[in-house]
Symmetry: C2
Subunit: 156 residues, 2 copies
Amino acid sequence: MNDIEIRPADRADIAAIVRLLVDDKLGAGRDSLDDLTPYVEAFEQIAADPNQELVVMTRPDPAGGPAAVVGTLQLTIIPGLSQMGRTRALVEAVRIDSGERGGGLGTVLMQWTIERARERGATLVQLTSNGERESAHRFYRRLGFADSHVGFKLSI
Amino acid sequence: MNDIEIRPADRADIAAIVRLLVDDKLGAGRDSLDDLTPYVEAFEQIAADPNQELVVMTRPDPAGGPAAVVGTLQLTIIPGLSQMGRTRALVEAVRIDSGERGGGLGTVLMQWTIERARERGATLVQLTSNGERESAHRFYRRLGFADSHVGFKLSI
């Protein structure tokens, strides 16, 4: 675990991030590596917003090649009036390489993210997880998250 | 309903928004009108971020006085890579004056917000609602929202 690095994503990571999005039971039908154009456009919007942080977790190649992207997530810092002006951090699009799951990388990535949220002034971290992702729900509960809310979505 | 106005909040609305936050079964213990300083600071952070929109709904005073703030919410525009670079809109801190509930104002405010999210390029609107807010859950379902996700929160 000592050789794992977590850092802001750069443009060169886009394909590797999309690979993680496709490598997912729900994402397989929603994402595609065929054309990266919409992902590059979204990356530019994220990069232009100081309250967005797209993050990758990498593992070095023992043979000296480029490090592999083994995890990703997006953090959004949201100032707000409610709860005495509490700043919240929203976590979206958490993905760990399917071949790396169960080894603790998700915990390392989330703990890093919680610390990063704290550095950015947030005192609440929130996320929603699809009702089908039962193992993810257990994972977030183990990290101390309370499943206190119902997550509503509307496609428009 | 024709005289209702929905517009970006300005500094002069802060106390009225906090009044709506306090006027809530969960907010009563979490917010206070005693000192507006933290709310003013949060307002300045929201105002500095073009991806945040703090909104108020007002009703004119028939006697010609200042319009009353009868509703509020905060919209956050979140670019993202997942789902082919889909932009999402997060809705937080939805409040309608307790004396005005049941009259359709919430529906008007949410419909305005959905249209505003669309104008901002979002194709998904999402929010979480505390598990205790059962009448709110019915309200969001009536608007077409699917309660497909579990909402996790962690105080840090």
